[in-house]
């Protein structure tokens, strides 16, 4: 994988989120893929500490079904988001069959007359499956991950 392929993949993922194509976004994850947003800086594990998000496929399925539900009050009205992905670097992968990509993410969210900003470094572990790439893990380390947040409904 070269830097161009990594960039195209991350841009496409960000576009799916911004266009609220959540089910297609979920389709980017491997069957055993996880989406992790730690709740403390440098969190070592999702298994013994609380996280903002730690979705395996089953929980992600519930999350997406809820985002599609007509009576999700926290998305009435819905959020609008704009992701900006930059500072993309290819990292050393922990396993031979995975690629590791780090990038900086800024997401601006507007909902109900209010706008807020999420920012941090994200780490994708990617695996080639058939023609495309699948996410083994997406980890987003927000710079304010241990802050008290107003309710968040959409993935970063």
């Amino acid at each position: 994988m070269d830097a161009g392929e990594a960039e195209r993949f991350l841009f496409y993922e960000a576009r799916l989120l911004d266009e609220r194509r959540f089910r297609e976004w979920m389709g980017l994850f491997a069957e055993n893929g996880t989406y992790w947003v730690p709740a403390v800086p440098g969190q070592e594990s999702p298994f013994d500490q609380a996280s903002l998000f730690y979705d395996d496929r089953e929980l992600m399925q519930t999350r997406i079904a809820r985002l599609e539900h007509p009576r999700i009050h926290i998305q009435t009205p819905p959020s609008r988001t704009a992701h900006l992905i930059g500072n993309i670097t290819l990292e050393d992968s922990v396993t031979l069959d995975e690629y590791a990509v780090a990038s900086t993410v800024i997401m601006v969210e507007y909902r109900n007359e209010k706008q807020r900003i999420f920012a941090g470094r994200q780490h994708h572990r990617l695996r080639r499956e058939g023609e495309g790439l699948k996410i083994v893990q997406k980890r987003v380390d927000l710079i304010n991950c241990d802050a008290a947040f107003e309710a968040m409904a959409v993935p970063i």
Binding site: P46, F47, D48, Y54, F149, E150, A151
Partner: protein, 432 residues
């Protein structure tokens, strides 16, 4: 002004409360003085400061407070304020520091607040007595099974009288740990909302809102997603055929026992089918430690939610401890601690953490819709369209429960909220 008792009494009527109790900044100031400045408040758990010198910093009634473990292993609650010029001496949310050194002029305190050292002592007045300049301790402290409570008032109801009726709620949680103790060391969830603190307090025992507020968490059969390790599905919330509140939900009861406290009865999920590798191993370990019959009793939860008025709740389903921290009349911060059952298999504790992430984090499936309701109430109450908030469901249908020494009612009624306002009025009038 609303300071007079008669004025306050007029705001709380049978079955309704005036909207000013949620939106009036002067009333909020009085609440900070008369409720949060006097009542027993949950401060923390001893497991948050496991070793001497460990501290956490919190806010109680908007005041900075340190909970620290002293070198003799005792827990101390101190105001986080240097006796010299007033700077907070403990700067971090949690840390370990055998001595607290003020960043400004270097005044140094022991972990029990004793002033140990003042730089350039020859500058002190001849009458200066270090013993008079320790960090001030909070007036009163009480601990039950590791849960640390404090009162900022010098006098008032005793800790024993306050916590007594709610001990069984704490026991219900702690007894689930094979080693008989729990630890709040699995991180925390934090959220904030633009609403009054009472909106959150009222919600924790509200069994009426679930099918409506949480409609998006329910599948087309009216069943919520599984919320406990070992459950294959969650509770039936909506009667799918009739699109109404599911029948078992309507049979559940709530209870009050004075002082604003209350609890709701069991989780409706105890069908004996709960099973997963992690849960089965946990049940085996628990039975091994305390006996099969006692384990069976403990794993048949009696309680769903408990409220220890005014700032703390316990949930028995997605086990956690919740702390409610009023910031302003229309701003409230909440912290939710996952509960680690000491002695339980790591996989069981992960099961609890994994599901609490999706029920109560700031990005969860359940709490977020409650927060939307709180925010909409706070803004709706600004309207002149009605001065009263209705809490009359089940008024007059309360009945005594002599076995539990409590008063009970159907959980979809609003007795628990009325009980909270009785306590509210007692505190606000100074008769608590």
């Amino acid at each position: 002004m609303h300071n007079g008792s008669s004025d306050l009494t007029a705001l709380i009527q049978p079955g309704r409360v005036h909207r000013r109790v949620y939106i009036d900044p002067e009333i909020f100031e009085l609440e900070m003085e008369r409720i949060f400045g006097r009542a027993w408040l949950f401060a923390g758990h001893t497991s948050q400061v496991p070793k001497p010198g460990d501290y956490i910093t919190i806010e109680l009634a908007r005041q900075p407070v340190i909970m620290i473990r002293h070198s003799d292993n005792s827990i101390k609650l101190l105001f986080n304020r240097c006796s010299h010029r007033g700077a907070r001496v403990a700067p971090l949310r949690s840390a370990s520091a055998p001595r607290l050194v003020c960043c400004y002029h270097g005044w140094t305190y022991d972990s029990d607040g004793t002033l140990l050292n003042v730089p350039v002592p020859e500058g002190c007045a001849a009458t200066f007595d270090k013993r008079q300049f320790g960090l001030s301790p909070l007036p009163r402290m009480g601990i039950y099974r590791g849960f640390v409570f404090t009162s900022l008032g010098q006098t008032g109801i005793s800790f024993e009288d306050h916590i007594g009726p709610m001990k069984s709620s704490i026991d219900d949680l702690v007894d689930r740990a094979p080693d008989g103790e729990l630890a709040l060391d699995a991180g925390r969830h934090r959220y904030v909302f633009e609403g009054n603190w009472k909106l959150q307090v009222e919600n924790v025992l509200d069994s009426y809102h679930v099918p409506f507020s949480h409609a998006s968490t329910v599948n087309d059969k009216g069943v919520q997603f599984a919320r406990r390790e070992g459950d294959k599905a969650g509770a039936a919330v909506v009667d799918a055929d009739k699109n109404r509140t599911a029948a078992p939900w309507k049979q559940r009861r709530s209870y009050v026992s004075g002082n604003g406290h209350g609890w709701t009865s069991n989780t409706l999920l105890d069908d004996g089918k709960r099973s997963s590798p992690a849960f089965d191993e946990y049940r085996r370990v628990l039975a091994q430690k305390i006996g099969a019959e006692r384990a069976r009793q403990i794993l048949t939860p009696r309680l769903h939610n408990s409220l220890i008025y005014p700032n703390m709740s316990i949930m028995g389903l997605n086990i956690h401890v919740r702390v409610i921290n009023p910031v302003a009349v229309d701003r409230t911060e909440v912290t939710i601690f996952p509960v680690r059952l000491v002695g339980a298999p790591a996989a069981m504790n992960f099961g609890n953490i994994r599901l609490l992430n999706v029920t109560h984090s700031a990005a969860s499936f359940v709490q977020t819709d409650d927060l939307e309701s709180f925010v909409r109430v706070q803004s709706g109450l600004r309207s002149q369209g009605g001065d009263w908030v209705d809490i009359s469901r089940g008024l007059g249908e309360e009945e005594p429960d002599r076995e539990l020494n409590a008063t009970r009612e159907l959980a979809t009624h609003e007795m628990v909220v009325r009980a909270q306002y009785r306590a509210w009025l007692d505190y606000m009038r100074g008769t608590a």
